[in-house]
Symmetry: C2
Subunit: 696 residues, 2 copies
């Protein structure tokens, strides 16, 4: 997919401002004022019929009287006039409109209708439309400021190859301001407002192919469409551009807040999360983490197997760092024994394991710091090296020697990520940064940022898995009975527990005898989806007499608790013992289509929410990775001397469910297989209960 | 307990420096230099036999020639001389020694022995001993600097009522330096080094009763003793002094690092965590969080039921804040409907639910900000109010009006916690802080800090629960069989599932007939603790024939898989269905004594680690709170239409286990009840398996 249609919007040679103001603090005045102050090299055409000039520039009465067709135009006039302006711009051949005007879909149904008209207008002329209700964008490399944000009061953007892409104007500029305060360069910032036409996906895709952006900081409240979004993430991954994203709306409360705000769609956060993971997008928990990760990513070092080596002057800080590393799964391998011995030779009472505590001794004998740092890279082989030097890093007596020692080692090993935890005045930090170090006051933040580099590295190194083959599927016209549902799934490669639909008690007895006791009996009805809730499931039926009694019991319960339900008899199934109960599921996400799910079965899935999602279709390798990511995975992996479960069979069933879902098409609304009984290694996995929902 | 013996150490009228140096940058010179620069009002007595004066002060040859007995002395001489100095100081009647000298227990066995001699010396004379191997302390209120830290290069401590208590000197001063950079006043900082005599507990206790400290920031790697620690936490709670603590060594890696470092004991982190929770100590995840919480606590507003109201100019930030609030359990109740209507009257398209998005409209009409803020406190009744204004808070045009509006409302409601998320230069932030606002750049950090105030409030309001009555317990001489163990527990109020030890197969058949089928059969042997690992447990024994077959199977397996084990027969028990399987446990913590545990039963306890701990003894109310804190609690609470389980019976069993543990005394090493079968409400909870370990 090509995202270059945004080029003229972000890199224009000329711009018109519809609703230009002579006042530099008005919405229609700010962009002009900013561009004049900073010296935008292209042509600026104010459009304001009431004035001959605007901020010293010749003003034009309308779009048609402009001396040339501008690449892009800002629209900052009331909504009716904005509709007309968009039509005029499109007709004139302008390539993009950035609409500041509010009062559209975020307001009411009337506004939404007007917005639709505006979008139709833009589409008709092949013009890209940003907003409406948007704060605009800037590209400081060419001093292009198509925004009315007041954020530049505290300073102009610094050079730097981080791009900000944000659905929220207020949050996008909040992020810019914090980055500016930290002296992190964010040269390009694009906010998308109502996303009537240009969406966050377009912006991500554009940044993914832009030579001006190395690292993408994104903020999203909800993803509106899947195709472009997936294409943008895929392009970024293939171009080795890390995306670090704040996707809000994780919680129920947050989703409620998101729905009450602008015109956003909150979507299923867990599904979005799975998609982000699939493409190696790292999700930040807060603004600091977002910027920490982007800052580290500007080094463009993305280790495929990332390991952390820590050298510290405080044993306590070493412990703290270890805690954080373990909690996020950042490997800290031990230093090789000979290196540990050598370090003990330098400082007898150092702790050379990793974290390497070189103790205050290294502060007194600064030449030791170089020895320790060299050992980290040469002997430890760590791809990420973190030094904890705290206020010592700013000490007048020690800092110059410390800096020289560290720089000498880092210069020789520029393929590593080097971070220092130091407390120092801004100018001193700048010096360390010039030497090539990432500087973090808090060591725990350094650990999180460095770890993310390895997550990017893994995603960049990952080959796109081959598209799995799809089965032939023919769905019934309506939601099938459990038995029919299982036959359909079995045909798709998800076998069921041996079972038979029995219309009468003699058939049930025969089936039980054939499968062997004990058996499970379940009421059979197309009208009863959740059988256990009406007492429609009987376990441990251990004799023919019990089968007869159970048959009568089930019919009686159905008559009493689900009167009117069509009863087709009773399902008799072999009762399997010693299996691990898992659950497989399939849901249709409005944005990303069919999504498969695996988790611990039974009620644990609801209480503990230990589940893993992935977009369909996928192969066995991805299915197994999903299974291994579960917290409860040890239950399948032979915990406490149990036999290992047949994870391969489980993974195959999960992958088969994913291809079945795609082949079945949108009429398949959902599948719920719970439990799926996973037997010991080599013995298979069988659906014991399955509900398919079929739509029209 | 009285912690006042540290008074002369932290608030001395006179100090001697043993090993005083004329060089202001030497370890023995720094304290003198600092105190001279800052103007310590007490007497400073350098002790250095080689010089007539030190840094302009008269120098003394030894302790005995001092003109008066100093309140406290710094010891900064090599270890042999340090031992003598401590003895001399003690003999002279000095009240405290602060030993900088290293090379004691942190080094080797010889050092540990020397340290013991030093401690004995101090104890003999009733002198408190800080360190050895300690960085010392400062009390800037009286300009007392008994430390050789180089942290003051970047600035002297600011006034402020936060005390720092740290086991690590490097980390304690790291914390001080970061606080100083953030202009947070930490007037007193005490580091404890090797803790040979004075421990962190003493320091916490002293701060808890000191009129100079309102808020305590603590850093711990391991707690060495329980009694003083508990007394200190209890005193702090009763005196309404919040303690926010960084306790490192959560992870296996962190604990390994802690053990390889100095002379610390890592202890069981989960147990320490339970103790901290019991006393309302809030545990911080990193340095920033530690300081954020301490900073917020200086307001001394600790709501008992803390609710968060948010007013924001960015809907996106509102979503982000809601996500964080929900994830940490900070309540954000909805605004009352009439108030929502009123706010819609001001800004038709605001989102008035909470978070209250007043939109950019409020920036244009700043008088609305006061209306919205008033609604938060008056209508919403929130105890914590957070405003997200980002860079608008620093805007030259808007900020003065915004500040005035907010201040007017905050002044009228000084019982609330007021926090603003603002990006502004330091001098402007200082102005907001002068107005009474807590200022956080990142709103998510504000949420975490404000939430902690409610946790303190709840702990301060909590009445100390009455000590539960202890049962009469007589333990057997050695680890009992399962049947004996259950009899002992039943006598203590933890009933077991009906069962009987059967020496022969006929007895087993009789027992099964009496209990009713199905039954469970288990091998009975004092030598086989984990029966299931040798196949020594049979379930679903449904007939007399099966009992006979099972008896033979169990004996055969025991003979094959545990040869030599003494076999006493087979245990026959009623098999209970429909119960929730829980686990109760008891362990003996080396620091805190008996600790009880409750969690989901079966293997889930090991895989999912969803457990809750508490120091013994405790009553039913505390037991129920432990149970309700489990992630898996919904399993007991009637999830998905199941019957609720008998939580009262479970809580009673847990509380009974806790009193049993204390009454049984230290010979009871551990109890493992897994599963404890919890039947539906009113039907009780029964131990199905129990292992008691008895020591000598």
């Amino acid at each position: 997919m090509d995202f270059s249609s945004l080029d003229p919007v972000v890199n224009p040679r000329s711009i018109a401002i519809i609703g230009a103001s002579d006042e530099p603090v008005r919405i229609g005045g700010r962009p002009i004022s900013y561009m004049l102050q900073r010296g935008f090299q292209g042509a600026i055409y104010p459009v304001n019929p009431k004035r001959p000039t605007v901020q010293g520039l010749k003003s034009y009465a309308d779009v048609n009287s402009l001396p040339e067709t501008p690449d892009v135009a800002i629209v900052a006039v009331p909504s009716q006039a904005a509709l007309q302006a968009v039509e005029d711009l499109g007709a004139r051949g302008c390539k993009g409109a950035i609409v500041f005007t509010a009062g559209f879909a975020e307001m009411d149904a009337g506004g939404a209708a007007a917005q639709d008209v505006m979008v139709a207008s833009a589409r008709k002329h092949g013009m890209r439309l940003m907003g409406p209700n948007c704060l605009g964008l800037f590209n400081s490399a060419i001093n292009f400021y198509a925004t009315f944000s007041a954020s530049f009061e505290s300073g102009w953007p610094l050079p730097g190859r981080i791009g900000i892409a944000s659905q929220s104007g207020a949050y996008g500029t909040h992020l810019y301001s914090i980055a500016r305060d930290r002296e992190i360069g964010t040269q390009i910032c694009i906010t998308t407002g109502n996303e009537a036409e240009v969406t966050l996906s377009d912006v991500l895709g554009w940044m993914a192919q832009s030579p001006d952006v190395d690292v993408i900081c994104a903020y999203a409240e909800g993803i509106r469409e899947g195709k472009n979004f997936l294409a943008a993430l895929d392009l970024a991954r293939r171009n080795r551009k890390p995306i670090v994203m704040m996707k809000v709306g994780r919680s129920a409360l947050g989703q409620a807040a998101a729905q009450s705000h602008t015109a956003s769609i909150a979507g299923d956060d867990a599904v979005t999360d799975a998609v982000l993971q699939e493409f190696g997008v790292v999700r930040a928990r807060n603004t600091e983490e977002l910027l920490d990760i982007a800052y580290a990513a500007t080094k463009r070092i993305y280790p495929v197997r990332n390991t952390l080596g820590v050298v510290t002057v405080s044993g306590g800080a070493g412990v703290l760092i270890s805690d954080v590393a373990e909690s996020i799964g950042f490997e800290m391998p031990e230093m090789p024994q000979p290196a540990q011995e050598r370090l003990r030779g330098f400082v007898p009472f150092c702790a050379p394991r990793n974290p390497v505590d070189c103790t205050a001794q290294a502060i007194n004998q600064t030449e030791l710091i170089g020895e320790f740092a060299t050992a980290m890279v040469v002997d430890g082989g760590y791809t990420s090296c973190l030094g904890f030097f705290t206020q010592v890093g700013a000490s007048k007596s020690v800092a110059p020697k410390l800096r020289a020692q560290m720089k000498a080692v880092a210069d020789q090993h520029q393929d590593r990520l080097w971070a220092l935890s130091i407390i120092a005045p801004r100018d001193m930090i700048r010096e360390y940064e010039k030497d090539g170090f990432l500087i973090f006051e808090d060591p725990t933040r350094a650990v999180v940022a460095l770890h993310a580099m390895g997550r990017f590295g893994e995603a960049f190194a990952r080959a796109t898995p081959p598209a799995p083959a799809l089965p032939q599927v023919s769905l019934p016209a309506t939601t099938p009975t459990e038995a029919e549902g299982k036959r359909i799934l079995a045909a798709a490669g998800i076998p069921a527990v041996p079972e038979r639909a029995c219309a009468d008690v003699e058939a049930a007895v025969a089936a039980a005898r054939e499968f062997g006791f004990p058996v499970v009996m379940k009421i059979l009805s197309p009208d009863i989806l959740h059988k256990s809730e009406i007492g429609g499931v009987l376990l441990d039926i251990a004799s023919e007499a019990a089968v007869r009694e159970g048959f009568a019991t089930l019919l009686a319960r159905a008559a009493e608790r689900a009167p009117g339900a069509r009863i087709e008899g009773v399902l008799v199934a072999k009762q399997i013992k010693g299996a691990v109960e898992m659950a497989l599921g399939l849901l249709r996400d409005p944005v990303f289509g069919p999504v498969a799910m695996v988790g611990l079965g039974g009620i644990f899935i609801e209480v503990l929410k230990d589940v893993s999602f992935r977009r369909c279709p996928f192969g066995v390798a991805e299915a197994e990775a999903m299974i291994r990511s579960l917290k409860g995975f040890p239950l399948l992996d032979g915990v406490r001397g149990r036999r290992k479960a047949d994870v391969k069979a489980l993974a195959q069933a999960l992958a088969n469910l994913s291809t079945f879902a795609v082949a079945a098409g949108p009429r398949l609304l959902s599948v719920d297989i719970n439990p799926l009984l996973v037997l010991p290694e080599g013995e298979g996995a069988f659906a014991a209960d399955a509900v398919l929902e079929i739509g029209e």
